[in-house]
Amino acid sequence: MPAPMLEVTQLTKAYGQYQALADLSFTAAAGEIVGFVGPNGAGKTTTIRILATVLEPTSGEFRVAGIPRKLPDEIRRRIGVLPESAGYPAGRTGQEYLRYFGRLFGLGREAADRRARSLLAEFGLQDRAGWPISTYSRGMRQRLGIARAVVNDPVVVLLDEPTLGLDPAGQRQVLAMVRGLAEDRGATVLLSTHALPVVEEICSSVVVLDRGRVVSAGRVAEVSRQDGSHRSSRLRVPAELVDRARAALEAVAGPHLEIVADRSGVLTVEVLAPPQDRPGGQTDVGSTVLRAVLDAGIPVLSFDVDGGRLSDAFLSITTRSGR
């Protein structure tokens, strides 16, 4: 198994009495997109800044591409960062901006120029290359920021709220670029965000922070299923098969599920009890319901889940942690 690209062990950051981070530990493999979620003040930005070597932790260790934190210059060569509140020099053009950072990362003048042109084209900014950044829209600036974050072809990219303030189209664009970083460039991406649908859409794993501590971590699907946040499933079958579907569901349902069917072929399965009260601590109600109907040879025309999303799990987890 390849060594992780990002390895964080017992990371702690305290400002006097205030504990911003406490014993944070997680890993991320190459090409993985890890979602970093939590309420305001959870410690996401602090974590990003520590991993970016802008802040020093109070204790703990982390490695980026195998390089320990005591070699910050080496880490900086291999990471790209888009801070949440990144500003841009208004008078510089996009081309000048990227060229400058290319040179700061050690490229010669011409190489930096070529890299800048290539990145501007890759991120859809080639038409505005010669324009002052002050003329760029918010979405364009975010794209420019991501382009700058990869000017050194990093192995780990740290993105703090890359979709903040963007319209839906802009968000889609940025998310597609973030996905590209992992899939096309093979970079490990740590994506800190409030937007849980974003995490569900592109992240393979998620770390949920609350008040500086990890309250949940794992694959997105696993975390989403935690705490029995699934409330109900709705499926539609051909009207003439609704009774057979109901029978198939009743065969697997227990007292924790209520099945309601109507003559139009829609069946609703309500979850009545939390996982600890279900037989076997069952969490994946949705797939149980779907499998039961399909195994009975009944075609499913549509399937919908109410609850069971990451946002539901997030609220439940953070509420339970005492917020």
């Binding site: 008078g91 010669g130 324009w131 002052p132 002050s134 003329t135």
Partner: protein, 185 residues
């Protein structure tokens, strides 16, 4: 006011000169004499020069503390003189002079006006007024200050105009270039 000051200065000089002997030194009561190293200075506006005065106690008893005070007076009524412009150190103090002792005082001056002037040093006792005692004053030093124009406005005009004009043009060009980039869509 200026004319009155000039006139009073001239009158004072005349009064004192009447009581002075023909020797270069001017002596008053107490046997103190004040001599100046020269009688005339010719210079130009802005020119700096030094006057040296010597205080001599020709009497038979020590003096009390004294103050030597420099004054400059215009000999024409159309020039206003502010002595503070001519010298920043117009007063110098002497603790006392023993019989036969003398002391040199140096005065730095700069001619700030064009014209004809007289400079002189008057000795003032610092311990209580003595109504009957006339003041001791040096003879006057004639100052002839010629006008000077080393630089004409027309000579400096090219630089005065061209340098800011060039820089202003540069500012305008840079501003226009930026605006063009910002407004073109």
């Amino acid at each position: 006011m200026r004319r009155l000051a000039g006139a009073l200065g001239a009158a004072l000089l005349a009064l004192l000169a009447g009581g002075v002997s023909a020797s270069p030194a001017a002596a008053g009561v107490d046997g103190i004499a004040v001599t100046v190293d020269r009688t005339r200075v010719d210079t130009v506006v802005g020119g700096r020069f030094v006057l040296r005065t010597r205080l001599s106690n020709d009497g038979d008893r020590a003096t009390g503390p004294l103050m030597a005070h420099l004054n400059v007076a215009s000999l024409t009524s159309d020039v206003y003189v502010d002595p503070e412009d001519w010298s920043t150190q117009r007063s110098q103090w002497v603790d006392s002079l023993a019989p036969g002792e003398d002391q040199q005082l140096t005065w730095q001056l700069q001619a700030v006006n064009q014209g004809s002037f007289d400079a002189y040093v008057v000795l003032l006792p610092t311990e209580g007024p003595d109504p009957g005692t006339p003041l001791t004053v040096s003879r006057s030093v004639y100052l002839g200050v010629a006008g000077r124009q080393t630089l004409s406005a027309s000579g400096a005009l090219p630089v005065v105009v061209v340098v800011p004009a060039l820089l202003g043009l540069l500012v305008v060009l840079r501003t226009r270039a930026r605006r063009r980039r910002l407004t073109t869509t």
